[in-house]
Every structure is written in C-alpha cells, then in structure tokens.
Symmetry: C3
Subunit: 269 residues, 3 copies
C-alpha cells in the first residue's frame, strides 16, 4: 500500500478567519483522513516574496511525495494561471505569480518533471467564487492529487512559469559582497539574500558584516556566541547570512527591517 502523501499548506490567510479551516474541510470531504501539515499561514497579506522564501527554506524537509499548496494570490480570480509543477520528489500547486520561482529555479535541487496549467473544472468545487480559490480550486485539486490523480488530467502541459524578480547579492570591485534583508522572523532575526556558498566562494575569512550603522566583527556559529544583548552575524538555519541578537530582537535594536542593505568584508590573503 502506498504511503500517505502529506499535503503541505502555505498561505497568507492567517489564522484569525476561517479560510484555512475551510480549505481543510474541503480536503477532508474528498480525502478523509488526509495528512495535512501547515507550513505557515503567517505570510504577510499578498507578500509573494515572503511566501517564496517560506517555501524554499522548508520544502526540503518534507517527505517525498509531499503536495505543496501555496496560496499567496493577490491576482485571485483574474488572468493569472494556476500551476501544478511536478518535480522528482514533490508536487507544487500555486498561482503563476512567481511564488514558485525560487523552488523551481535552476539553482534548486528540484527538477521539474511536468508543468501543467490547472483548468479542468471537474476537479474544482461546483461553484467557483471569484475571490477564494484556496477553497474552490487549490484545496480540491490537492485532495485529488493525494488520491493519486495524475496532474496531466488537470489541464494542458505548459513550458513557462513566472519567475520572481528578486535582487541577488552583488560582488563589488573592492572585494566586498552586498545584499539585503529579505525576511525578518518572529525573533527579530534579519535574514539576508546572501547564502553560504556565496560567502565561502572566495575562500576568505569574513572580517565584518555591516548593517545600517552597525559593524559586526566576524561570523558566529550560534546565537549564544554573543553575550546576552550582543548583535552577531551568522549563517542561519536556512543557509543564509543572518543578523541576530543573543536573547534579544535585532530588528528592534538596530531599527532595521526588510530591504536594509548588508555588506560583508573579507580578509583576503
């Protein structure tokens, strides 16, 4: 008997309203006892970049066969398409607005096996609203996927998907590396777009990391490498350079947030 496939939900719906609960109700009606895991529903409303980061930093930890339902969808009911992307290990359902960009990009370990535009009404709820496709399209299609329906039945095969227009880090002529804060978590940790590979590429030691008016010496390995209240820079758990405060909130202490520029200096030689 095949193992039960996990359905992983990631939305900007929050948990204040009944939107997530209603999606789970629809799934339970089609696939009773489905295994559903909430990746998060705390993406800021309509924040496609934030949703993409939440997905790309978590999907690798899900078991093979997981079905990701990513609903950060400011264009709901408009002309944007609904994508179903199958890769070697997972299936991703999402609006074609860039939210799957990082996960499906060439840097990723995920290789797209098939890409389909989801349009077959047969797999939707009978009445499709213009404003809640999470309930009317994404939830029922995900439930059918977990029942083993082949994505090819959802609609025509397509070749292109929208990528996300996010700035990457930049190597300057003076040998420094510049990037920016792309996510701030609950603890006030400032997560940048500079990944471990980029930092280690030059085989040089990090001298300092500058954010706002703050210059931080070297890299730490864990939060408690600093004294309580000390700001430090380290490679965080998602593999990106992160500015944190031991037992504190770096976002508040530094007055920095998303978009803030970060510069890394190296010791060449």
């Amino acid at each position: 008997m095949p193992r039960d496939k996990v359905i992983a939900l990631l939305t900007d719906f929050g948990l204040e309203d009944n939107y997530v609960g209603t999606m789970k109700a629809v799934i339970a009606g089609i696939k009773p006892g489905a295994s559903v895991i909430d990746v998060t529903h705390g993406v800021r409303p309509q924040d496609i970049t934030g949703g993409a980061f939440m997905l790309s930093s978590s999907y690798k930890y899900f078991p093979e066969g997981a079905i990701f339902v990513v609903v950060v969808d400011p264009g709901v009911g408009g002309e944007r398409r609904v994508l179903c992307a199958q890769t070697g290990k997972h299936i991703f359902l999402a609006p074609d607005n860039g939210v799957l960009g990082p996960v499906l990009s060439e840097e990723s370990e995920e290789n797209v096996v098939s890409l389909v535009e989801v349009s077959n009404l047969k797999f939707f709820l009978h009445d499709v609203s213009g404003t809640f496709h999470g309930r009317d399209i994404f939830a029922p299609v995900a439930a059918h996927l977990s029942l083993g329906v082949n994505p090819a039945r959802f609609g025509p095969r397509i070749n292109e998907f929208k990528r996300l227009d996010v700035p990457g880090p930049v190597n300057a002529a003076d040998g420094t590396l510049s990037g920016e804060v792309i996510y701030v978590d609950r603890f006030g940790n400032l997560i940048t777009n500079i990944d471990r590979a980029r930092i280690e590429a030059g085989n040089a030691r990090v001298l300092s990391v500058t954010i706002g008016k703050k210059e931080i010496e070297g890299l730490g390995a864990t939060y408690s490498d600093g004294r309580p209240g000390e700001t430090l820079a380290l490679i965080g758990s998602s593999g990106y350079l992160e500015i944190a405060e031991n037992c504190g909130n770096a976002c508040e202490s530094l007055g920095c947030s998303r978009g803030e520029k970060v510069t890394v200096r190296f010791n060449k030689g």
Copy 2:
C-alpha cells in the same frame, strides 16, 4: 466500516495560550487518532456574533457527519445551557447563547433533527472547573460523539434555543438597500450583512455602493477588477456583499470597521 467523523473546533481561545491544545489532548485521550480540524480560534474574545458568522460561512464545506464544537462562551460556568443540536448532516455543540442562531435558523439548509441540553456528568471530565468548559465539557462530549454515542444520552430533549439578535438589511422606500459591516477579515475586507439573494431580488443592476464617504460604482466580480489600490464592491466568497481594495486593505484605507453603514443603489428600469 463507518467513516471517521471530523471534529471541527471553533473558539475565541486564540493560539497564544494552551487552551486549544488542552482540548485536543482531552479528545485524544477519549478518541485516539480523532480527526480534528480547526475552523478558527481567532474569534475576538467573547464575540458571539463573530463566532456565529465564522460558523455559518464555513460549516457547509465540512463533510457529512462533522461534529462542530463552538466555544465562544462569555457565560461559562453560569446558568447558560450547553446545547447539542443534530441536523440532517452535522452535529453542533455550543453554549446556548445565540452562537448557533444563524446556522439553525429557518433560512438555513440545516434542519434540526434533535436538540438536547447537555447535562450528563458521565460524559464530562471528572472535575469540572467553573471557567474552562471547553476542556471539561465540550471536548470530552465531542470525543464521545465521534465514538458514536447517541446525543439523547447527554441530557433531556429541549425545544428552544437562543437566537442571535442581529440587524438584517433594510429596503428603504426610495428603493435603496441598507445594511452594515458585520465582519472584517485579515485582508481588511469589509463583509456586510447583505446577501446575494437580497441584492438579486429586485432584478435590478447595482448602480453604486456607499460606505462612509466612499461611493463605489457597480459591482466587481473579483479583487483584480480594480486597479491596484482601487476600492471595489463585490459578492464575496461567503455570499455577502463585501467592500475590498485590490492589493490593499479597505478597512484601513476607508477608516471603516464593523457596524459601518452600507447603502446599495439600484438602476430600476
């Protein structure tokens, strides 16, 4: 083998404390492996009207046999009764304070098959506190329901339940229709008490919707019918007239919230 019945939890407990987790612990102790779905726990503290709206706009999406546990209960421990209402498709457990009003009202598709006052201590936790019936009464009773216990064993049959005293929309002599905002969701969408049937009753086209100082022309079908930042009126996913802002937050932009008056003008002729 009978299908597993879903237990659907809807409370004002929030997720900051351990109240919801403790209810689930009690359920798991009586019915290991129970299928529990959180409708939402984000109802504002003691907001019976908000809880009733969350329930009435989601219950239809749950599979047949679902057991709803609705704990918005400012009168906990006092003289209010605990209701168990069985309808053709679902079972509802809630304090008798009006929160089940809309779902059980005559307009609803749900027909009440039996109505019982839950009072049989045999199905409660051994020690019943005066302040947390979610844990001590609602959770264990729901778990027993999911095991197949007949509601008639919970207590005496009753004939009446408390209805909710909420204002409905009003047709004025000048042909306009007036209502008010009854719910504001995470996205700042302003949901009114004017339902689709009421708007379509006159077979007339909507000319404009007025809220606060804002007059909106006609009805849209989806958020992206407006330009980004544009305010629009549409029939939302729960079937009610809603004022929204494309890629924005209508509640903040208009400075309107719950209770705000809304007027619909029609093109007669």
Copy 3:
C-alpha cells in the same frame, strides 16, 4: 498493537514563520502519520518561565505515553544540554534550562523514571545547524521516540536537571498570603503563583484579594459571578488564584501584568 503515541509540541516559535511546519515535516518523514498536537507555540520569545507554566498546566490532560517536545531555547547551539526525561506516564524532551523544572519537581505527580542527556548523532538530522535544534534534534528524536526507540539509546544517563528559579507565594506574620502574577492569558486574566492548596491550607475563608490599587471581596466560582465589567478573584482552571473581569480584560482594566504583587487576606476564626 500498541496505541499511537501523541507527540505534543510546545515552543516559542510562533506561527508567523515556517519553524513549526518544518518540525512537523521532519517528524512526518521519520514517522508517517504521527499524531501531533500543538500545545501552543505562543510562548513569548525566550520566555522559559512562561513555557514551563504552559507545560505544567496542560500535560496532565494528555493521554498516557505522550511525548512532549518543549523548545523554548535561548541557549540553542551553546553548552546547555538536551534532556529526555521519562516519567511514569510521559516522556519530556527539552533543553536543560529549567523549562521542565515545575513538571519534574517533587511536588508534581510525575516521577522521573529515567533522565538522559540526548547526544547520539544517529538520531539527529544529518546536518545540525547552530540555531534550529527544534528541526535538527528535537523533531527527529521525538519521531524516533514515537517509533518506540528506548531513550537509553539517545545518550548517557544523568542525575541532575536544572530547576526553575521562580518565587513561590509567601505566608506573612500577619496571616496574609502574598504572591505574584506569573501569566496573563488572551482574555487578560491574571494568573498568580498561589495555588488552591495554599489557599485552603489554613481552613479559613478568603476575605479579600488585593492587586495594585484594587481590593476584591472574597472568591468567586466562575466569571459570571460578577456583573459584566466587574473584577473578581477565583481559582482558575489550572488550579491557581486568578484575577479576572467578567466579559472584560482585567489586565487592561487594572493596568497590571506579569510580576504584579497579589495579597490574600483571610477570615480567621
């Protein structure tokens, strides 16, 4: 066949980010279909005392065999140990920072059968980050526990664990009992460190409870013993003296929060 053991998660991760979702993904990869219950993830960042209270006031309601994973861990990646404590009924996984103190203390009904330092890399994720042991250590170890792995395989047996340095209530020479607010819940209820046993010890009737400038006469049994808006004192659902406001928020009305002193006066004779 042995019953499925519940994995109970209690963290300060919040639900805005993907931390909790990623822990659940790791668990699902090792133990497909695991029964996971969220106690709460709303503990304030790095608030060990708050986490300890959330645990001690809920664990008794979980079924026997439950595996508690308590990740409030400001010292993550540093020298603090990871504990696995087995008691007669439950298993507790947590950093050795005091968060298990109240549950394992002698006053508790839980008797520690074995205490192990979790250090065997074989049960961790392959790459262990310095900042997210919830994902890399706690989640996989919990999943292995739920598969029936003996805690003795996780590392060496130890004899000591860190206790929490929290102030207890004090009996004064004038016969009064003094304590403080240790937790404020979503409803603004002010929960103190004075438990029922302490209040009932003297076999005397409570005359009044004083908090800030407010003196409350006697004890109520439930919130609705007060008029709407009235402040009252009662023994709350976790067994501690609590100051609440009927249909209101005592924390806001009284301007009191955690740490506020509370004095109980008795009628002797």
